[in-house]
């Protein structure tokens, strides 16, 4: 390795800095250096360092070594300063760096107690620095993003590990139970958990890792203390360097040591939600929300299902939302909503969407209105309540096909008829009758019942009488005489109307003769005027009537052979009728 190739240089991250600003100065040599003399750093505060690094490359058997020492400096006073030369001996030759001029202008005051700068990725150089006081180089902090909140307002809690030394093994021994809070763990990827960052705390650079992040929702007002959390570590401590080589190039030994770290308790101040302006339907939502309602159909039939969906989007205690006060029409059968969450827990807080899916079944036809849903929340950023309203929906329900009325049969067992209703009413004629008028056993019933037997009895008696009545032929003939005569006379009257003179007289003659024959019980062949007269006389008929009868008979006999002129046919008819009537009355 040639001496002229050796370069020992000094550099700063910037030449002009403000007071309180950090900058880095580094010295590097491309060879195995010895006896490094740090420069004069008057006017600057050392915030970190010296950080040493060594790298070795072997290319085709040629070994190249690079070593560097760097300091993190903070400018304290304003003015012009000079970083003096540093020197190192390589292969017996002394090399010196050039001094660097620095200009410090007025800036922020020098921070004492605040983390000032964060840098992504771990700075392995930090580990190298030996530290004697472990509590200063390895500790835990409970970090809150805000410590003065409203009840229900979310805050993020971070358990953070600060270290300047190498950690071999870690174990969380105690996590506070966080009473007084509803908590949600921040879900992060495993890689993210293990990620180291560099952070300056109290002016010192640390490697920092977030052990756990939790989002908290205070459940009640007041000062709530978060208990400390503790971890067990096995740390690797560097034994003090025996010589400068060890110091510069990381020589020397290590020692593993057990150590328990504990964070300090922190207090959260929780304020009550203001009573002033609290809306009626307030259900405890704190954060920032938006609400939207949708309906899957506005026209349907009875007994069909209707989906009414409410979407609540935002950040805050969305998981703690109670059921919403939705006013559905009374005739709607309403089921408990199906709640679906799509919520993310991040460092910035809990946010996402919650869906309330209401299943409604209208049981009756008609036009219904689903009232707007009133939703209100408290916005902790503005300290005010906000009320939101969804839009109303008009729903038209047409009559469905079958109206089923399911009877509840839950009280009893061993029943199979689950899908049946009572039978429908009877329509049509009511068949009303007065109470107490039972037909069976009533008077009319017995009368009707006895009617039949009475009829039979009557018929029987009638038949007997009739038989007796008709047993004497003479009497029967006698009784029938007038009837037969009337029949014959009626025949005669017909002939009279037909102007059939001969037939008329014949009918009259036969009528009278027949009548007398039946009446006097004389055979038709034996009938003549004399016999008739004597028989009538015997029966006590007076003479004039007999004479009138004889005259009429003569007239009829005469008319059969010669025309009769002195008397009209009508008169003959009347006369014959009169005679029969008279005789009938007398006998």
């Amino acid at each position: 390795m040639l001496a002229q190739n050796i370069k020992f240089t000094a550099s700063v991250s910037k030449n002009e800095v403000a007071t309180g600003e950090q900058f880095e100065v580094s010295f590097s040599v491309n060879g195995n250096g010895d006896r490094f003399t740090p420069p004069d750093l008057n006017g600057f505060q050392v915030a970190g360092g010296p950080n040493q690094s060594t790298s070795m490359e072997m290319i085709n058997g040629a070994t190249t070594v690079n070593a560097s020492v760097s300091y993190i400096l903070v400018a304290v006073k304003e003015g012009d300063f000079t970083i003096g030369p540093a020197s190192i001996i390589v292969n017996g030759h002394k090399y010196t760096t050039n001094p660097i001029k620095m200009k410090v202008v007025k800036g922020k005051p020098v921070p004492q107690n605040r983390a000032q700068q964060q840098q992504n990725g771990p700075d392995n150089n930090l580990n190298v620095a030996g530290a004697t006081d472990l509590s200063k180089s390895l500790f835990l902090r409970t970090v809150l993003d805000k410590d003065n909140v409203y009840q229900g307002q979310q805050l993020t809690l971070t358990y953070r590990l600060y270290t300047r030394i190498g950690i071999v093994q870690t174990q969380v021994t105690k996590m506070p139970d966080l009473t007084g809070f509803w908590n949600e763990d921040v879900k992060t990827t495993p890689q993210a958990v293990a990620q180291w960052k560099v952070e300056v705390y109290n002016g010192v650079k640390y490697n920092v890792a977030d052990v756990k992040q939790i989002i908290l929702f205070p459940e009640h007002a007041g000062n709530i203390t978060i208990d400390p959390f503790s971890m067990d570590f096995v740390v690797r401590l560097q034994t003090p360097a025996r010589n400068i080589m060890d110091q510069v190039f990381g020589g020397g030994g290590y020692e593993d040591k057990k150590y328990t770290a504990k964070s300090a308790p922190v207090v959260v101040h929780v304020k009550q939600l203001p009573e002033a302006g609290k809306p009626d339907g307030f259900v405890g939502a704190v954060g920032n929300f938006a609400i939207q309602s949708t309906i899957d159909k506005t026209e349907l039939k009875t007994n069909e299902a209707l989906n009414y969906k409410i979407k609540v989007t935002g950040s805050g205690n969305i998981k703690l939302l109670k059921d919403l006060n939705v006013n559905f029409p009374v005739d709607f059968e309403k089921y408990d909503p199906k709640v679906v969450d799509s919520i993310k827990e991040q460092v910035t807080g809990v946010s996402g969407t919650r869906f309330y899916n209401y299943l409604l079944i209208p049981r009756h036809a008609g036009d219904y209105k689903i009232d707007p849903l009133k939703f209100s929340y408290f916005n902790p950023n503005t300290g005010k309540y906000v009320s939101l309203e969804t839009k109303p929906f008009d729903v038209k329900v047409a009559k469905g096909v079958a109206e089923t009325n399911v009877t509840s049969l839950a009280d009893k067992q061993d029943v199979k008829l689950l899908d049946k209703d009572i039978r429908y009413i009877k329509t049509g004629d009511a068949g009303l009758f007065k109470e107490g008028n039972r037909f069976f056993g009533s008077v009319s019933y017995y009368l009707l019942l006895l009617l039949g037997p009475f009829l039979c009895l009557g018929a029987y008696v009638y038949r007997g009488q009739n038989a007796k009545y008709n047993s004497d032929i003479v009497k029967v003939k006698n009784r029938r005489a007038a009837k037969i005569a009337a029949k014959r006379l009626a025949n005669a009257h017909q002939q009279l109307l037909a102007k059939n003179t001969a037939a008329f007289y014949e009918a009259i003659f036969r009528g009278i003769y027949g009548y007398l024959g039946d009446k006097l019980n004389i055979s038709y062949a034996d009938l003549n005027r004399e016999i008739i007269a004597s028989a009538l006389q015997k029966k006590g008929i007076d003479l004039p009537l007999i004479t009138r009868l004889e005259d009429t008979i003569d007239l009829c006999e005469m008319a059969r052979y010669a025309p009769v002129t002195h008397i009209s046919e009508q008169e003959v008819y009347n006369k014959a009728k009169g005679i029969i009537n008279d005789i009938e009355n007398e006998i």
Binding site: T407, R423, A430, R438, S444, L448, L451, G452, R463
Partner: protein, 261 residues
């Protein structure tokens, strides 16, 4: 004249018949029938309260019928008044024991009552006999008996007056048969009436009834019944009623707690 006299007698008989039959045919007046139909219309529209009101008016004016009691029971059932609905169903059942609609609805209403009483099994001959005598309504039986007796009489009269020997034979035997069937029907109707008269029943209307061992208010209770349960009435005394359950248990309860069918 005798003939004329006979005719007059027949005429008079016809008038008597008409006078007896007409009241049977006068099924309420048009007003109550209209009211009944109004109740049906309310029921169809689902306005059960109004339907009950309309039926109640018909009942209050002293009328009864199977459809009236049945529909009233249905309307009360729809209103959830199970004891009332059972009362009217049972009334309808009494008028028409074999009506399937009524029996099905009684079954449904009974499912909604609290007390589950296992009926004592009846001797199978008894059961058949009851099923037989209850298979027709009393009114139907009465009308059939009258018709059969009349037909029998008519056939007997035919037997008296006919001249054909064949007709005489036929009419005589058929007349005897119809007389016999008529008498059997009268017997059935009589047993049905005596069955219902002997089986007075009541429905419990109070929500909960303590059944005591005697007709006095005493602390110990034999058993507890709930509304809608049907009990058999055995006896009544001093505002108390002696009842018997279908499972054979007996006890006394206050008449005010029940309504008789």
């Amino acid at each position: 004249m005798i003939l004329k006299m006979k005719f007059d007698l027949l005429k008079r008989l016809a008038y008597v018949l008409l006078a007896v039959l007409l009241p049977l045919l006068s099924f309420g007046d048009d007003n109550t029938q209209a009211l009944f139909e109004k109740g049906n219309a309310y029921y169809t529209k689902g306005q059960y309260q109004q339907a009950v009101g309309a039926y109640q008016q018909v009942i209050n004016s002293g009328y009864q019928s199977i459809p009236l009691y049945y529909n009233m029971g249905n309307a009360e059932y729809k209103l959830g008044e199970i004891p009332s609905s059972l009362l009217y169903y049972e009334k309808a059942h009494k008028l028409s024991p074999a009506d399937e609609d009524i029996n099905v609805n009684i079954h449904f209403a009974n499912l909604k009552t609290t007390d589950k009483i296992d009926e004592m099994p009846e001797f199978f001959l008894n059961r058949w006999w009851h099923g037989f005598i209850l298979s027709f309504s009393v009114n139907a039986l009465a009308i059939w008996s009258v018709l059969l007796v009349l037909v029998g009489s008519g056939l007997l009269v035919l037997y008296f007056f006919t001249n054909s020997v064949a007709i005489k034979k036929l009419s005589f035997y058929s007349s005897l048969t119809s007389f016999f069937i008529g008498l059997v029907i009268i017997a059935i109707a009589g047993s049905q009436v005596s069955y219902f008269d002997g089986h007075k029943q009541a429905i419990i209307f109070s929500g909960i009834v303590n059944v005591k061992s005697g007709p006095v208010d005493q602390p110990n209770t034999l058993f507890v019944l709930h509304e809608g349960t049907k009990v058999n009435v055995l006896d009544k005394a001093n505002g108390w009623m002696r009842i018997k359950l279908a499972n054979g248990n007996e006890g006394w309860l206050k008449i005010s707690d029940v309504k008789e069918i």
